[in-house]
């Protein structure tokens, strides 16, 4: 067994270390980092654009390159979130919540360094799982039926209800708004279109990228215009890039939790890195001793979600390569490469084409090490982005967002959508409504709805299944406990509000 394992690793390394594959790996991860950094232009659009080239490439090289773009973009995604409050990708939107405050405190370098480390950690866990427990993990993923998915999403949504500070009522309103936007389009269960107003462009629903870029990107640029005073200049010293012992100490457990959660969501087709990053943030806030630090520059709030989304990215290859079932549009592209080269993706691929499977897996190690090497020296350069005057930086960002969103589907309609959501985001911000819960509602809501209705169809309308299936029951009970605890905690916290507000702020400053 162990002998076979090492043979496989050796086989994989010999494939991955061929000059050609190494080159495509470098190309993929470099490109991935850059498209990750640029708001709007994401992995899916880039992979789609490069897909035609893969017709002429060896399938292993093609997958190594496309996969590099995919996980590379997760490294880059948080850079703009942290520095500019503009997420590079939807899954790094949550990194804005604490990353941007860190940058405002002059700790951008530390945030970037720690997210890079977290990303590497998360990816490593994902790859290790793929190498060792791929089969049992696939079995676990398959055991999840609609009822389990639904219960898990309920747990996720309740856990994530703490995601923003301030008024809980406003946060709930935004979650509901998100769910409402999420139901736009063709209802899979009945085939009816909902809230499309006869527009064919809305049949497939609202684009996640357009929503995220509008709510976070355009809104940020617009609101900064009012207060813009030249640049965000800050003193960039070497010291500001080196994490303190306290930062490292605080980041360990979030990395472990983030990677576990991220890997778990990765093996579940259809869930995706955005959900993983939001829920991971929420968990950190739940378990934190001082949850009031969150939203004000807590390192855990940046590291955990970035670790989680990288773990998800890597773990998503498990169902894709082991079962031949793609969990997302990007994974479907990877499978597309196999199919056009005459390889039937699925269980037989690992045994029939071990050099391909193990070559791709080992290239993930190479790619992630490269990303680490590429990203850490780049931090100093990225931070210098902040010295670019607003009047150059922001118009450029808007152009990139529009190009990026257009390129996902080649749809001008999506560009109009980002403008609309930009206005919505700006309005929400001005009125003190948090936008992060809206994004969460948008991704989780439709998922929950479909799984719920599917469960009802299969159980002939009986609610019992949620409690009779053990895994589903566990999630529901956890969700109920969490809800009860939140209500109790909220009730208990009502009294201290009368105390002078300074006492709470002091602890934050003391950090």
């Amino acid at each position: 067994m162990l002998g076979e394992f090492s043979t496989n690793i050796a086989l994989g390394l010999s494939t991955a270390f061929s000059i050609e594959n190494l080159l495509y790996c470098v190309l993929g991860v470099t490109l991935g980092t850059f498209v990750g950094v640029i708001p709007g232009i994401g992995a899916l659009a880039t992979m789609s654009m490069l897909f035609p080239i893969t017709f002429y490439l060896d399938p292993t090289s093609a997958i190594i390159m496309l996969a590099g773009i995919w996980y590379g973009s997760s490294y880059g995604g948080s850079i703009a979130s942290i520095l500019l409050n503009l997420p590079g990708t939807p899954s790094s939107a949550v990194a804005c919540l604490d990353g941007y405050p860190m940058a405002r405190q002059g700790r951008a370098g530390i945030a970037l360094f720690m997210t890079t480390m977290g990303s590497f950690f998360g990816a490593s866990v994902g790859i290790l799982l793929m190498m060792t427990f791929a089969q049992p993990l696939v079995a676990l993923a398959l055991s999840f039926g609609p009822s389990e998915y639904f219960s898990l999403m309920v747990l996720g949504l309740i856990a994530a209800s703490v995601i923003s500070d301030g008024s809980a009522l406003k946060a709930i309103a935004m979650v509901l708004m998100g769910i409402l936007l999420g139901v736009v389009g063709l209802d899979v269960q009945t085939g009816q279109t909902r809230f499309t107003f006869g527009m064919i462009n809305l049949i497939d629903g609202i684009s996640l990228v357009a929503l995220a870029m509008g709510l976070f990107g355009i809104a940020e640029v617009t609101s900064s215009v009012r207060q813009a005073t030249g640049t965000l200049i800050q003193h960039i010293t070497l010291k500001s890039m080196i994490p303190t012992r306290d930062d490292v100490r605080r980041s360990w457990m979030p990395m472990v939790r983030g990677s576990t959660l991220g890997s778990f969501f990765g093996i579940m087709p259809g869930v995706g890195p955005t959900v993983a990053s939001f829920i991971s943030y929420a968990i950190e806030k739940r378990v934190a001793k001082e949850p009031e630090r969150f939203g004000k520059g807590a390192i855990e709030g940046v590291v955990a979600p970035e670790t989680a989304n990288n773990a998800t990215d890597q773990a998503a290859f498990i169902p894709t390569l082991v079962l031949g079932i793609p969990g997302s549009a990007t994974m479907a592209l990877i499978l597309g490469v196999l199919i056009i080269h005459g390889i039937t993706p699925g269980p037989s691929m690992i045994t029939d084409r071990p050099e391909m499977f193990w070559g791709v897996v080992m290239s993930f190690w190479i790619g992630n090490v490269l990303l680490l090497v590429l990203n850490i020296p780049m931090i100093g350069i990225w931070v210098r982005l902040l010295t670019i005057p607003y009047h150059y930086l922001y118009p450029a960002i808007i152009v990139f967002i529009c190009i990026g969103v257009y390129s996902v589907n080649g749809s001008a309609f999506d560009v109009f959508l980002i403008i609309i959501f930009g206005v919505v985001g700006y309005g929400a911000r001005t009125l003190g409504f948090p936008v992060a819960p809206m994004l969460l509602g948008f991704v989780l809501g439709p998922l929950m709805e479909q799984q719920f209705r599917r469960t009802m169809l299969m159980s002939r309308g009986s609610f019992d299944v949620f409690m009779t299936r053990p895994m589903s029951a566990t999630f529901i009970i956890l969700a109920a406990l969490l809800l009860a605890w939140s209500i109790w905690a909220a009730y208990r916290h009502r009294t201290p509000i009368k105390r002078p507000p300074n006492s709470a702020i002091k602890t934050v400053d003391g950090d």
């Binding site: 789609s48 055991s143 064919i200 031949g324 549009a329 479907a332 599917r454």
Partner: protein, 324 residues
């Protein structure tokens, strides 16, 4: 001298012949009007990059570029199962430079999408590239092997579920349930990935699949219950069709069509029809079909219209009858 002249003459003749042959290459089978195309031709694909239709479009484009020396730009216009592409095609000039590739079933009426802004008669069909094959499949451990035993099983336990992606698959399950008066419930999902997860996890009893189940069939993990096509499938020659098993459900007949906006000049239309037919019958396209476990098949312009209109009429009839 004479000799030399003959040589020159032969040389001239040969060059003329080869010039003709070169020129003839574009006129060989495809008689195209002078000066067509004036600029690169656009292929608008109704699905995202990396999907089956996308690969078909790119391979056909490659075949045409090789055979005719034209430039073809492939652009993806995904959305609503190629309805977004179809609608955008309506607004384009019918000059032969804009060609759409999508699924024929998107142009067939269905009871839920009555509000689309186009009808199949708004387009001109240049031909088709491939028939989509669907199969009714289940885990190998399922206690039924064909439609008859599935019906039996459903009656016994009271209800059986079938994961389906898309209206045409749902319709097959509904018709089976009607015909045998059994509680066979379609479980609609967003795509074949989801229906495979539900099937492999044992959460549903069966599924209708295009190609996603082929690897599982090969490994013996799944079995085919029926071919949801009008003929048996080459990769499962022993699996009878619905019709052979006595089921009256309409088989799914969906093809990848090449279409243009209506009003194409006749000479351009004939040229493009021939060019498409040549490309579908080219070697590189055949190789792609081998990796798809499918066959290159051009039903021709009339064949495509017949298929769409008859399917359209039959589905309308299914929904009109109960009302009568």
């Amino acid at each position: 001298m004479v000799n030399k002249q003959t040589k020159i003459g032969r040389f001239l003749l040969l060059s003329t012949v080869s010039c003709l042959a070169l020129g003839a290459q574009s006129a060989l089978a495809a008689a195209c009007p002078e000066g067509f195309p004036e600029r690169p031709i656009n292929f608008y694909v109704g699905f995202a990059a990396g999907g089956g239709t996308d690969s078909i479009a790119r391979t056909l484009a490659q075949a045409i570029e090789q055979a005719q020396g034209w430039n073809i730009v492939v652009e993806n216009r995904p959305g609503a199962a190629s309805a977004v592409m179809a609608q955008s095609l309506l607004n384009m000039e019918p000059d032969g430079h804009s060609i759409g590739l999508g699924s024929s079933d998107t142009l067939v009426w269905n009871p839920t999408s009555g509000d689309l802004d186009f009808h199949y008669s708004d387009f001109l069909f240049l031909g088709s590239a491939m028939d989509s094959w669907n199969s009714f499949a289940a885990l190998s451990t399922a206690p039924f092997d064909d439609i008859a035993s599935l019906v039996e099983y459903t009656r016994e336990i009271g209800m059986a579920t079938v994961a389906v992606a898309g209206f045409n698959q749902t319709l097959v399950v509904e018709q089976l349930a009607d015909q045998y008066d059994i509680n066979l419930v379609p479980i609609p999902v967003a795509g074949s990935a989801e229906s495979m997860m539900l099937t492999l996890g044992g959460h549903v009893d069966a599924t209708i699949q295009g190609v996603a189940h082929l690897a599982e069939l090969e490994s013996g993990n799944m079995k085919q219950i029926a071919s949801v096509t009008s003929h048996r499938l080459p990769y499962q020659p022993d699996s009878p069709t619905l019709e052979e098993q006595g089921a009256t459900a309409l088989p799914i007949q969906s093809v990848t069509v090449l279409m243009a906006p209506k009003g194409l000049p006749d000479d351009v239309r004939i040229c493009l029809e021939q060019v498409v037919d040549e490309a579908v019958n080219s070697e590189i396209y055949h190789n792609l079909m081998v990796s798809f476990n499918n066959e290159a098949l051009n039903r021709g312009p009339e064949g495509v219209v017949d298929l769409i209109s008859s399917r359209d009429a039959r589905i309308r009839a299914l929904y009109d009858n109960p009302a009568n």
